[in-house]
Symmetry: C2
Subunit: 602 residues, 2 copies
């Protein structure tokens, strides 16, 4: 199998330009210096670097995990070299302002060029992703001095960063976090506490690591309203910006995981000696809201990571299925006949089509969602910005949870296509599968995403964002109506939109009746329902775009690619989408078997 299987550039270009309309963003003043050519050049370079520097160490980063040596986490030298190449190419500052040395690219293009890196070596790609998240968080909520002190070195590739939310006793429940910050009398704060599950929490790349830490000020209110945000460097920073002494941040332990191993996941303690200094970022007691700036980006990032692993294993299993000869058709009884490539077996083709649908459908939705970040920043009309924000808020938990649920399914199918070989560590698909299993857990479990979607983004919002999404879906259905082959799917999609509306209304009635717990009890099923409908929408969008290109008379491999899009759309609508009717029934009828099961009855 050739390494070219790790990524599919043709598909990325199709989604980016034909479906999501990346070049529309060129109309915003911020991106006026750019063109499709500069976008393409960045993605070209990313693809090349990913293949040459990230991909070769994918297995190595798994078998030689980060190690804790003398209180510091050490990565293998191959990864240091890969990161140096990434920084040298300017990717750490891709979206930053040009006056700060950045490329001032749209977030959508950062998402696009990030894909080959994530396909090649996701858990290693976590280091720059988190560092950039910290830079963006400081850009949004830091003072200019903080931007100079912490953000600028990140953009230059000298510093890295982390987000420190969870604690051992409070993984998902941030209301219960205990880390404390008290004024040090010199305008700063002394931080004291323990943080768990810190990805990229320590390592020996770069000069420093800026931990973005949630902690409580003295006399802060209980719960989430008493949390503030602090920038806490791993090493003190001297007056002239150099590296000072240790800042009393200790790596108390490394978590040894099933996968995702190149990313050092740490248990950190702050201020064991009472000498850990941090700076308040933003407004006191608004820390959680500030942190959600980063958290929301990371949630889209988790969705994208899961999609990238799905792409990698799908493409690998596709190549394998085309080359591997095995068996005959069920009605071919002649044992002397030559074996056929396994892609000829109907069940193997089904497993490949499922992968294609999950992975390419989720990628389309993630790219669309990324574009909303640019719209929210770039639109001149405040209403348009507000609409982009509302849609972004609605889609973020779907991109995170639906993608990580279903692209894990894609990894499972990829392994099944490879059979016994896929189960061995000689082939990459088992690592894709192990790595991807984390994505349904971190940055808020998928159960929590489902509660966020149904409880906060839909019900609290009184369905406003959902109506925006419905309008977008209706617009695509209207385009599809005009194309004979797609009219059936357009009609089907409208029926499912009605189903979403009815199901949502039923939950609303539970809330009105004060049945909040029961109304939310089947949130995970609601996520599958809305997620499938959103993915069906992306497939109809892809089919419309493919049909338009085909109508222009393309031939050969390009025509095959477009026919594949049309056929995958058909498969998703017929084979996958109807499964959510049952999910809708469970939610609408408030099916309560789990809700009423007593803990002692298990």
């Amino acid at each position: 199998m050739s390494d070219t299987a790790f990524f599919n550039r043709r598909d990325l270009d199709f989604l980016l330009y034909d479906v999501v309309g990346a070049t529309d963003l060129l109309g915003y003043p911020r991106y006026g210096e750019h063109s499709r050519e500069t976008f393409d050049a960045v993605i070209d370079l990313a693809e090349q670097l990913a293949r040459e520097t990230f991909l070769p160490h994918y297995r190595l980063g798994d078998s030689r995990e980060p190690e804790l040596v003398d209180g510091q986490v050490r990565l293998i030298p191959e990864l240091h070299a890969a990161m140096a190449a990434y920084i040298e190419a300017g990717f750490m500052a891709a979206t930053a302002d040009s006056e700060r040395g950045g490329m001032q690219l749209p977030y959508l293009i950062e998402t696009a060029y990030g894909l080959p890196f994530a396909c090649a070596n996701l858990s290693f790609a976590a280091y720059p992703a988190l560092a950039k998240g910290v830079a963006n968080l400081l850009d949004a909520h830091g003072s200019e001095a903080q931007k100079q002190r912490y953000m600028q070195p990140i953009l230059e590739g000298r510093y890295f960063g982390t987000m420190c939310l969870s604690e051992p006793q409070a993984g998902s429940s941030l209301a219960d976090l205990r880390t404390r910050a008290r004024p040090d009398g010199a305008g700063g704060y002394l931080i004291e506490g323990a943080k768990m599950w810190i990805s990229a929490g320590d390592h020996d790349m770069g000069e420093n690591i800026i931990h973005m830490v949630l902690a409580r000020l003295p006399d802060a209110p209980a719960g989430v309203r008493g949390i503030s945000l602090f920038a806490v460097p791993r090493y003190r920073i001297t007056e002239n910006g150099g590296r000072g002494g240790d800042n009393d941040v200790q790596v108390a332990g490394l978590n040894h995981k099933m996968g995702y191993r190149a990313s050092a996941n740490c248990f950190l303690t702050f201020g064991e000696r009472g000498e850990c200094r941090g700076e308040l970022v933003g407004t006191p007691n608004q820390g959680l809201a500030h942190m959600f700036h980063m958290m929301n980006e990371e949630r889209i990032g988790v969705g994208l990571g899961s999609i990238a692993l799905g792409v990698a294993s799908y493409r690998y299993s596709l190549g394998y299925a085309r080359e591997r000869l095995q068996g005959r058709h069920p009605d071919q009884k002649d044992a002397e006949s030559a074996p056929i490539a396994i892609i000829e077996h109907a069940d193997v083709r089904r497993m490949l089509l499922q992968q294609k649908c999950y992975v390419e459908g989720a990628l389309a939705l993630a790219l669309f969602t990324s574009r909303l970040i640019d719209e929210r920043a770039g639109e001149s009309d405040p209403d348009a910005r507000q609409r982009a924000d509302a849609l972004l808020e609605l889609l973020t938990p779907i991109v995170k949870a639906w993608s990580s649920d279903w692209c894990l399914r894609a990894n499972e199918l990829a392994m099944q296509v490879l059979g016994g070989y896929g189960y061995t560590r000689e082939y990459p698909v088992e690592q894709h599968y192990r790595d991807n299993r984390l994505n349904a857990i971190h940055e808020g479990t998928n159960g929590i995403q489902a509660l966020d979607l149904l409880g906060r983004k839909v019900i609290q919002d009184r369905g406003a964002a959902l109506r925006l999404l419905s309008a977008r879906i209706e617009a695509t259905a209207a385009e599809a109506d005009a194309i004979e082959a797609l009219a059936e799917h357009a009609a089907s999609l409208r029926r499912y939109l009605v189903l979403v509306g009815e199901t949502t209304a039923a939950v609303g009635r539970q809330f009105m009746a004060g049945q909040v717990r029961l109304g939310l009890a089947n949130a995970s099923q609601y996520m599958t329902l809305v997620g499938h409908v959103a993915i069906a929408w992306t497939w109809l969008s892809q089919a419309v775009a493919a049909q338009r290109r085909l109508a222009r008379g393309v031939e050969g491999a390009e025509a095959d690619f477009l026919r594949g899009k049309l056929h995958a759309c058909r498969f998703f609508f017929r084979h996958e989408l109807p499964a959510v009717e049952h999910c809708a029934r469970i939610v609408a009828q408030s099916e309560d078997s789990a809700f009423t099961m007593a803990a002692d009855w298990f």
Copy 2:
């Protein structure tokens, strides 16, 4: 978490005696010396040994994989000691005739006592399972001399064994196997060829390993009709039964797997020096049919193994969910209130109930299927034996494929319940998940099981076995009719039986029209349909049994256990079973999107 979580004896006893009726078997003359007390004593001992000798090395067998040293596979000493205890207790000969030193237990009881061992350390339990399979195969098809030479030492725990079917170029397609056997002029055969994916293929426990090898005689017909079965020892056996020299069986390599690592999976070559001797077992060119004696048992064994891993991770995550405090109910806004145990969250309870349904439902079906092996051997009426055989043939692919698909889902849910902790190697659930992923692949992939079910066991059989199953299901539904709380489920089950019948008839029509390939194209969906209906049947059976016990006025933990059974039945019927309506539509309508997708369109 306490280690007692690895297994659930109360549930096994309930299924064995209240649902599957193990004591009925005491009526067969072969088991006349037994009683419920002897059955229980065997299971008691197994549970104790599993806890004391198999469970402690579960993680160790994963982190310290078997190694190839000087041409022989070496296992860690802890596993040697565990196997010695297993053999010492007489478990290798549990089902064997008493005149051969066996306990003459029913196969059903072997299944039952095997469960704690498999829950504790499945990949290690593969060694005795395969050895017993070889013993049973020789018992069925070997000569008396072969039984003395090969089987008796296995029963005594001195020899182990393997099944050698797959080759590197022929994993699933046995028609294409190339290993040759030519007469050695002394009544034996010289074996030459290579075998891949041989579980327990080499190790340093015991005196010898008897490989059961499929190979072609000179001038054998092509395809599966030209395959014969040979017993090929790892070491030559001397006249007096001692260990002779090397028999030219080489371990060409070890497969390094994602999980299931305590089982040494080998690439073996036979006769590289032209000195590998084997003995023909059974009739020339009937080797595949003979081997299926062992293969069918191993398929049930694979299903049981996947269930055991499901039991282990379900029980572990249940214990965790009861102890772990985190968060509050969605309508509890008071941050000063105490956090609740996560089992109180509706979505966690849903994840536990799904696990319970998959695992305990599949276990009931596997036990019922195991009982059929005893019925087939023990019934005096030839028609009853034939019916047991037909049902056994029908259910074997379901036990293998449905269990391995859905108990893997259970492992995934168990990890989700543990969150980040579950993803670390500090907790056993990640290993359960990795280990279980093999079960959908080996002993015939689940895609092949689905073709076997639909093409061979249902359509070729003209639905006769399916009608036997329907009659059994109808009998349970009739019992449930009489219990008010269950009448709704009985009616539902009958509707799904009709759906199975209609769906099957639609496939039959495709076959009659010569559309064999299209008729089989959605076999995997058919497997899910029939599997879910069969599992629903086991849940209704469990509910009937639970209701009867409850009616006798039990209290406390026992009543809780029985109410849990009733509630899980309700959950399966309302939350899980209706999902197959869509599967049925896909099959009945011959949904052809995957079938008509061209290989070049991906």
